[in-house]
């Protein structure tokens, strides 16, 4: 895993956004994380205070929204919930599905003081 580097990358992006908006500080960072992203939300939370030190986000809070896994069946087109290691259609049981949600690692919103 690599949560510290994810945090670092996140803060790079936050910094860019902060600069665009002439922010003086970052208050909250909202992140969407899915179980299939390869990132553990708990490890992300514990890496965050290390990554944010000395940055414009030094006092920021990281708010992680854990996303559900949702698949769409290529056979019957149903959209159903699934588990990380069983991405099967909840209606007909087919394995040929596509992932609608569950692999997110997305910066959703940044709250800052300007």
């Amino acid at each position: 895993m690599h949560e510290l580097s994810v945090c670092q990358s996140l803060l790079d992006q936050v910094n860019t956004i902060a600069a665009e908006h002439h922010a003086t500080s970052i208050e909250k960072i909202f992140l969407q994380v899915g179980p299939l992203s390869g990132v553990e939300p708990e490890l992300l939370q514990s890496a965050f205070p290390i990554a944010r030190a000395d940055s414009i986000a030094a006092g920021a809070e990281l708010v992680i929204q854990q996303m559900p896994i949702q698949v769409r069946c290529k056979t019957c087109h149903a959209e159903t919930a699934a588990k990380a290691n069983r991405l099967l259609c909840g209606e007909c049981g087919d394995w040929q599905t596509e992932l609608l949600s569950g692999d997110e690692l997305l910066l959703e919103r940044v709250e800052m003081l300007t």
Binding site: I17, L43, I50, A53, L87
Partner: protein
């Protein structure tokens, strides 16, 4: 596991690595933050650049991932023996400490670039880029990248390669895809290795391993190989032939070939706001 990527940061020890903590990388004269600067968004950018290198020379780049000891190097040795007369091959070897694997590959008469990752448990695009500058891609057809043996981290880092091959050796058990869904979902091909041992391992069912893979909604082909007996090697070699031909045809059409999972996962690491501001590659290549 890895200091560079932070796997080992847990609630129990994080006070140690925080800015002024005991283990704050003071040896390098920098704060933790300075040492650990952005790996992922820069990684993806670097990976794109690496892919341009490969594509420019029509080289097919294949990333091999597995648990430690699943047989990646043995498979490469057997593959090189079989293909050496037809294709020009080179290998990039990722290893925690030793140069043993690279030596094994060189013994087959093929260039092997060793990347010693130290404590990091995966290769990243920057490491591969450094290795690429030591390879003459104009004289190659296929580059194999042997990733660090680990079923967790390597799947999250685009190296700029074209195909992911995930090995599952039969002594490991047939339920690995269910236990490591992120890794196995990234496979363009799942190779069941060491199948000469199936005779003595009555609890590994290839059909079950395949079922667990299908449960991840993966259409990746599944093949059985033994580097030791040579059984099944032909299927794997045929797959490589096919991939190389398809790759070249796509490059002719100006298409970019990516590992299966990364084309749906491309929105990962994107900002909600704008195209990410990258430092960009620091150089251009002719």
């Amino acid at each position: 596991m890895c200091d560079t990527c932070g796997c080992n940061v847990t609630p129990g020890n994080k006070h140690l690595v925080e800015a002024n903590g005991k283990l704050a990388w003071v040896g390098k004269g920098k704060t933790a933050v300075d040492v650990l600067q952005g790996l992922l968004s820069e990684n993806d950018h670097q990976a794109m650049h690496n892919r341009q290198h490969f594509d420019k020379h029509q080289v097919l780049a294949i990333n091999l991932m597995s648990s430690p000891g699943a047989g990646k190097t043995a498979l490469l040795e057997a593959t090189i023996e079989a293909l050496q007369d037809r294709y020009r091959i080179a290998v990039i070897e990722g290893d925690l400490e030793t140069e043993n694997d690279a030596k094994r590959i060189r013994a087959k008469g093929v260039t092997a670039i060793q990347i010693t990752t130290g404590t990091a448990c995966h290769l990243d695009a920057h490491m591969v880029h450094d290795a690429l500058h030591n390879l003459d891609l104009s004289k190659l057809d296929i580059v194999f990248i042997e990733n660090v043996g680990n079923l967790v981290c390597p799947a999250s880092f685009d190296l700029g390669h074209h195909r992911n091959v995930t090995l599952l050796s039969v002594p490991e058990g047939d339920d690995k895809p269910a236990k490591y869904p992120v890794m196995f979902r990234a496979a363009d091909l799942m190779l069941l290795t060491k199948t000469d041992l199936l005779a003595v391992l009555d609890d590994f069912k290839p059909e079950k391993a395949e079922q667990y893979l299908r449960n991840l909604a993966s259409e990746a082909p599944v093949m059985q190989v033994s580097s030791r007996s040579g059984e099944g090697m032909q299927d794997w070699l045929d797959w490589l032939d096919q991939e190389l031909a398809t790759h070249r045809a796509r490059i002719q059409n100006g298409e970019i070939v990516r590992p299966a999972i990364q084309s749906d996962g491309i929105r990962l690491h994107a900002t909600a706001n704008s195209p990410t501001q990258h430092h960009g590659p620091t150089h251009r290549h002719e």
